[in-house]
């Protein structure tokens, strides 16, 4: 291995006198587990190269060694705060491969768990967004208020964060007694609480002056770059998998999607917050329409095997469309499992948005992409 030829794409760069190269991360608290290599000319960013991969754990490779049930706990690790939603497409895909038909009650409980999890994730994201902008109150409030929903999920699943709740064939266990009442009360209080965020954060002139008209992503570019979720909807494209390709019982529930036209950091930071209110609406509706009793899981054979074939399922997670592609070859383990995660898909917009921005706007633009480094790396 002495002086190997440079692999294609690698190049040796000369140091420029005017342009300074700055590594943001991977230890920087503002970048998460990733590095953003920015080149700055004075205060303006002229080039940006995101460098993810510091928390790459090979989830896809690991999945090839474990059977369809054993894959559940480790597949939710890439984004533990949204663990129900990252398992959702996998579970739907395995159900299609194994030909399982799940009960109506299990579908509703899944939707409730997924929506609660979406709120938990979004609150965490919002807390960090607050601290990125130096707004300590916006860190404290969401970090405290998400405990309400974490308690609910703990009652449901037994675990505070890594639930492993969804399984092929339904859910792991039924709801505890009296859950509906507690859930309704907590969710109502939660909704009242997040509405107060408007006063302190979203209508705050300081936030507006820092995020409005920064990092503008036009509608055409949002589509061309294949962005998804809140980034896409902030740029005026009305696309939500829950509406466009409803899975489980989303087609029976009453909710709207939030779309904004401006495409700037402000819109991208506001859409997830508006989505949380829709989530509360979905949860209330689902609690009402849910069958009050019935089985919640199908008994699986030990080491279930899929047929020969492949399946691609997608759901709307807290960050956007999350796809799972499973190739099965009649073995208990998947032959190949690919997670197409929204963070990875939205990352492509980062170099695009940062060029021409001031360095000081980098944190707000970066975090408004709803990017979760661990999920992008898998």
């Amino acid at each position: 291995m002495s002086t190997p030829a440079l692999p294609p794409g690698l190049a040796i760069q000369k140091v420029d006198e005017r342009i300074m190269t700055l590594n943001v991360g991977p230890q920087h608290p503002g970048s998460g587990h990733m590095r953003i290599i920015v080149q700055i000319d004075g205060d303006y960013i002229v080039a940006c190269d995101p460098d993810p991969g510091y928390v790459h754990r090979g989830e896809e490779k690991m999945a090839e060694y474990r059977n369809y049930v054993l894959n559940i706990p480790h597949l939710e690790r890439p984004v533990i705060h949204d663990s129900c939603n990252i398992l959702y497409p996998y579970v739907l895909g395995v159900e299609e491969l194994l030909g399982l038909e799940i009960s109506e009650r299990a579908k509703y409980i899944r939707v409730i768990a997924a929506e609660l999890n979406r709120c938990v994730y979004t609150m965490y994201w919002l807390a960090i967004y607050g601290i990125f902008l130096g707004h300590s109150t916006m860190f404290m409030w969401p970090a405290g208020d998400r405990e309400l929903l974490i308690d609910l999920l703990e009652k449901m699943t037994g675990a505070r964060v890594t639930h492993s709740y969804f399984i092929p064939g339904g859910i792991r266990n039924d709801l505890p007694a009296n859950f509906e009442d507690v859930c309704l009360r907590q969710v109502n209080y939660f909704e009242k609480r997040i509405k107060e965020y408007a006063d302190v954060f979203y209508d705050n002139p300081i936030l507006i002056s820092r995020t409005e008209k920064t990092g503008v992503l036009s509608r055409e570019d949002a589509i061309r770059l294949g962005t998804t979720g809140s980034v896409l909807r902030a740029s005026g494209v009305d696309y939500d998998v829950r509406k466009k390709e409803p899975y489980d019982v989303y087609d029976e529930l009453d909710f709207e999607t939030n779309v904004m036209k401006s495409g700037d950091s402000y819109a991208r930071s506001k859409i997830p917050w508006l989505d949380m209110m829709e989530s509360c609406r979905i949860i209330r509706d689902a609690l009402q329409k849910m069958p009050k009793s019935g089985s919640v899981r199908v008994k699986l054979k030990p080491n279930p095997k899929g047929g020969i074939g492949s399946v691609y399922k997608r759901v709307e997670s807290g960050r956007g469309a999350l796809g799972c592609y499973i190739v099965s070859d009649k073995k208990p383990e998947p032959y190949r499992l690919k997670l197409s995660v929204p963070s990875f898909r939205n990352l492509i917009a980062l170099p695009y948005l940062l060029i021409g921005e001031k360095l000081g706007n980098m944190p707000s633009v970066y975090w408004s992409l709803n990017y979760w480094p661990v999920e992008a790396d898998r």
Binding site: M1, Y65, L98, L225, G226, Y239, I308, Y312, S340
Partner: protein, 220 residues
């Protein structure tokens, strides 16, 4: 993968479209609520005779398949048609044209996912593009799977061996990072991609591309 023989018949179907049209009128109503239908159809594909599968074909998806087979004929193989999902296999020389056709004529506007799958037994690596559309409301549920295969070498030198495919980055900008990932994870070099560096793996990774089947996890 396995079920190539009966796909030919699916591709040839467009000539006698009368019978399928009749079935098509009743199909859309029936197929949506019963989500188990595609499973049973797909699982039984290897066992059942081809004619059994034809009534299962959903009308809208079939229309898209017809457009593709009409334009490219023998160059494409339809691997499956399920509700909302279409799988097309394309040779490496034609993938670029088919993708361009999918964008310009069929209105698919972005790529959801690019998955590389290693088939050591066939000495090939398959790259699967999942195309989807934001702008065309009729396609909002649809995923078009374009699969193409590159030659696989046992002792890969990523980028310098025969494992190469044309990049779709000039057609779908959204594949940029996905193709970089497929390059490092499976060693498929995408010709025409402007930026073929590693993305997730360390720059000095000197082992096999990790998603190949002959790369074994330690202790497994």
């Amino acid at each position: 993968m396995s079920s190539e023989p009966e796909k030919e018949t699916v591709g040839k179907k467009p000539e006698d479209s009368k019978p399928t049209d009749d079935k098509a009128t009743e199909k859309p109503a029936a197929e949506k609520p019963v989500s188990a239908k595609p499973d049973t159809a797909k699982k039984s594909v290897p066992a059942k005779a081809p004619p059994k599968e034809e009534p299962e074909l959903p009308a809208f998806e079939k229309g898209i398949v017809d457009k593709i087979t009409e334009k490219f004929g023998e160059k494409t193989t339809v691997s499956f048609v399920k509700p909302d999902r279409i799988g097309i296999k394309v040779g490496r020389d034609d993938i670029h044209d088919v993708a361009e056709f999918a964008r310009d004529v069929l209105n698919y506007d972005h790529v959801d996912s690019v998955a590389g799958v290693d088939y050591p037994a066939d000495k090939e690596i398959e790259v699967v593009y999942h195309l989807s559309s934001y702008t065309d409301p009729s396609l909002s549920r649809q995923i078009l799977e374009l699969a193409t295969r590159a030659q696989r070498e046992d002792n890969p030198i990523p980028g310098s061996d025969a494992t190469k495919l044309p990049s779709l980055r000039d057609i779908f900008y959204s594949v940029e990072f996905h193709e970089r990932e497929a390059f490092e994870m499976l060693g498929v070099y995408f010709e025409g991609h402007p930026d073929n560096r590693r993305l997730l793996l360390p720059e000095d990774w000197a082992d096999l591309p990790p998603l190949r089947k002959d790369f074994r996890n330690k202790g497994r």
